[in-house]
């Protein structure tokens, strides 16, 4: 009993550490950048906002929205990845590997080009549809066959679906050259120049999805013991899996709608979170959310400094970190193949 509570204490401690880490990253995202800003100035821009101060305007109009969007999208992507890995029992599952990013982008581009959709709600809905279709195709293709959901099949199907949607998107963009430049930056994934107006319509979805994911921690723990055991314990496995699927589509779809294709956060973070939290999804999910936010915020700060005065698209940064991690997992986790 004492042992159990000491594990709980340790995880509680980790949670506090991660919250502190998150706060530091959030603050760094506001303070560091092309225009260095002191902590005092940042603080005073909240307490008494001065319209004539360039620093105050930068903070309120650019840095703060960026930090908020980064945190929320980072958390969504990481939680989506965690649920996907739990759902498929596959260490390589994540939104980008599943082709969800490119599926969502394809549908958004169709909406913009052919149906002149401009309202964010409609674009988000389209992103959900694209995300769901891509995820479903990859899941079905991965699940058929004698060996069930193997990492290789999922990765191959995801790569093919990504290539497919990517090529169709590209054909559409070449045929309608207008706005290619804007869409390009969005395709590479970016959280710069995004305003809070883009986040607010999807915020209720993301909030509901993350809270539901946390509430499902116990059910996911049971599911992780295996479908048969979970059924034996009285769980309705189909409903739990279906709910997880819906949460994943909502989180990944809204992320794409807001920031474009940002990959690999959903792949890397669940592994880190499991390392600290063990096998208990009641802890893994909140840890993932916090660490996902931290990773996206830090990547974003680095993206500002790497090739100053230009910025590296955030999707490129996360791929440069996440790609090697993918290779590492592929070597380590799939060595039985």
């Amino acid at each position: 009993m004492t042992q159990l509570s000491s594990i709980k204490n340790r995880q509680f401690l980790m949670l506090i550490v991660f919250i502190v880490l998150f706060s530091v990253a959030f603050l760094a995202s506001i303070v560091f950048g092309q225009t260095p800003i002191t902590f005092q100035e940042a603080l005073s821009s909240f307490v008494n906002y001065d319209e004539s101060s360039t620093e105050h305007i930068i903070i309120q109009a650019d840095r703060l929205p960026r930090a908020i969007i980064g945190s929320i999208i980072g958390a969504s992507l990481a939680v989506a990845g965690t649920l996907m890995q739990a759902l498929t029992k596959n260490p390589l599952a994540s939104p980008s590997v599943f082709g969800i990013n490119h599926g969502a982008i394809f549908f958004v581009v169709i909406g913009v080009l052919f149906f002149s959709v401009t309202s964010l709600i409609q674009l988000t809905a389209l992103a959900f549809v694209g995300a769901a279709i891509a995820a479903l195709i990859v899941y079905v293709l991965g699940a058929i066959g004698r060996n069930g959901l193997t990492p290789v099949k999922i990765v191959l199907a995801g790569a093919a679906i990504s290539a497919l949607f990517q090529s169709y998107t590209q054909a559409l963009l070449v045929l309608n050259e207008t706005g290619l430049q804007d869409v390009l930056f969005w395709l590479a994934g970016s959280i710069s120049g995004r305003t809070l107006d883009m986040l607010i319509p999807v915020l209720p979805f993301i909030g509901t999805a993350i809270v539901s994911a946390m509430l499902m921690g116990k059910s996911i723990n049971l599911l992780a013991t295996g479908d048969d055991i979970a059924k034996g314990m009285g769980q309705n496995v189909a409903i739990v899996k279906g709910l997880m699927g819906v949460i994943v589509v909502i989180l990944a779809g809204s992320s794409v709608a807001v920031v474009g294709a940002v990959g690999f956060i959903g792949l890397v973070i669940p592994h880190v979170a499991r390392f600290f939290a063990g096998n208990d999804y009641r802890w893994i999910i909140p840890f993932s959310g916090l660490l996902g936010a931290v990773l996206l915020l830090i990547s974003d700060v680095l993206a500002r400094f790497l090739i100053m005065p230009q910025e590296v698209p955030i999707g490129v940064m996360t791929a440069l970190v996440g790609g090697p991690f993918f290779v590492y997992i592929a070597r380590k986790g799939v060595s039985k193949l």
């Binding site: 390589l92 980008s96 293709l141 058929i144 066959g145 004698r146 060996n147 193997t150 990492p151 290789v152 099949k153 990765v155 191959l156 199907a157 790569a159 093919a160 679906i161 290539a163 497919l164 990517q166 090529s167 169709y168 590209q170 054909a171 070449v174 045929l175 050259e177 290619l180 430049q181 390009l184 930056f185 590479a188 990959g263 690999f264 090739i307 230009q310 910025e311 590296v312 698209p313 999707g315 490129v316 791929a319 440069l320 996440g322 790609g323 090697p324 993918f326 290779v327 592929a330 070597r331 799939v334 060595s335 193949l337």
Partner: protein, 345 residues
């Protein structure tokens, strides 16, 4: 007609099915027809007769410019690059004994793209553009060695090679995008075309380089096809048959990498031709690698030619990158292959 045609002397012998000879002859005829059809089709239709006369140097009309500086090099480049990619894909599929392998799937093409874009970004001002193919080939080579080493753990399993290759492909595409953002000389949309691959603007220099490599390396691949035949039976059996498996594999991989790298240097990262061409070849000719090398080069050439022809004519005046077409057709085909081989993974 006899079912087999044979040839035998003291040091050398071979036997091929008559059907294979017929098919290869047919494919070769189609390639020759493509050389004439390519320059005559387009926004302004030209008579095939005029095209032939212009090519052999007896130009009659004012269309020499269209034919000789635009359409003919473009046609030849698409044929040669397609042939290179087809053979590169066949070799890779033969070596890793996996129907889903291709240079673009496992990141070799990505490595070449990174090197080529890096060359454009950092060296274009100071070093002659003639060196770009060398850079692309070097990039493909380095990344192949890297992928091979990373996949090594008590030997190579095809599955691990493909997984790691896909991971590396993602890193390479991120690096390429990074370099594009970094460079001011290449605009984003130009660079985007580079990532997809387009035969648009192929020059005679590209054609000459590709011709040199294709006519040098494809015969070499043909010579080593016997070793590939033996390797299909497993490494132990191949060694037992007197094949120097490691040496041959190295040479074959080098051929594959050089063909891929030069293709990227000429037209950018065109995907899926290397995946599809060998599969079409397998349905047309017998399953020995000797005939497959020739058939894959011809089907690859025809594939890319058709893709480029469609890309530049259907949506005229917009010139869609050929890579968009090859991916649009190739990705579903890849899914079909995955479905067909679902129990192997």
């Amino acid at each position: 007609m006899k079912r087999h045609l044979g040839f035998r002397n003291r040091s050398f012998s071979f036997q091929v099915k008559s059907k294979t000879v017929l098919m290869i002859g047919l494919l070769a005829l189609l390639v020759v027809l493509a050389c004439i059809a390519g320059p005559s089709l387009g926004n302004k239709l030209l008579s095939p007769w005029e095209v032939v006369k212009t090519i052999i140097g007896h130009s009659t009309g004012g269309n020499e410019f269209i034919i000789m500086t635009s359409r003919l090099p473009r046609t030849l480049a698409s044929l040669l690059v397609g042939a290179a990619l087809g053979v590169a894909g066949l070799i890779l599929q033969g070596i890793v004994r996996n129907p889903l392998a291709a240079p673009d799937v496992i990141g070799v093409t990505g490595g070449a793209s990174v090197a080529a874009v890096a060359f454009l970004t950092f060296l274009a001002g100071s070093v002659s553009m003639e060196w770009m193919p060398v850079a692309a080939i070097a990039g493909a080579l380095i990344i192949s060695v890297f992928i091979y080493m990373l996949s090594w753990s008590n030997g190579i399993t095809p599955m691990r090679l493909i997984l790691i290759g896909i991971g590396m492909a993602a890193v390479m595409s991120a690096l390429t995008t990074f370099m594009i953002v970094l460079s001011s000389s290449v605009t984003a949309s130009q660079a985007y075309l580079w990532l997809t691959g387009s035969v648009y603007g192929a020059s005679w220099e590209d054609v000459m380089m590709m011709a040199l490599l294709v006519f040098l390396l494809i015969p070499l691949a043909f010579i080593f096809s016997r070793s590939l035949n033996a390797q299909q039976l497993g490494d132990e059996v191949a060694v037992g048959m007197g094949v120097q498996v490691q040496r041959d594999r190295f040479i074959l991989l080098a051929i594959c990498v050089i063909l891929t790298g030069s293709a990227v240097a000429a037209v950018g990262a065109i995907g899926f031709v290397g995946l599809i061409a060998p599969h079409i070849a397998r349905t047309l000719v017998s399953q020995t690698y000797g005939s497959l090398v020739i058939a894959s080069s011809l089907t690859g050439a025809l594939l890319l030619f058709t893709a480029d022809l469609t890309a530049r004519t259907i949506f005229y005046p917009v010139d869609i990158p050929a890579g968009v077409f090859t991916a649009g057709v190739g990705a579903p085909f890849f899914l079909y292959l995955l479905l067909k081989n679902r129990n192997q993974f």
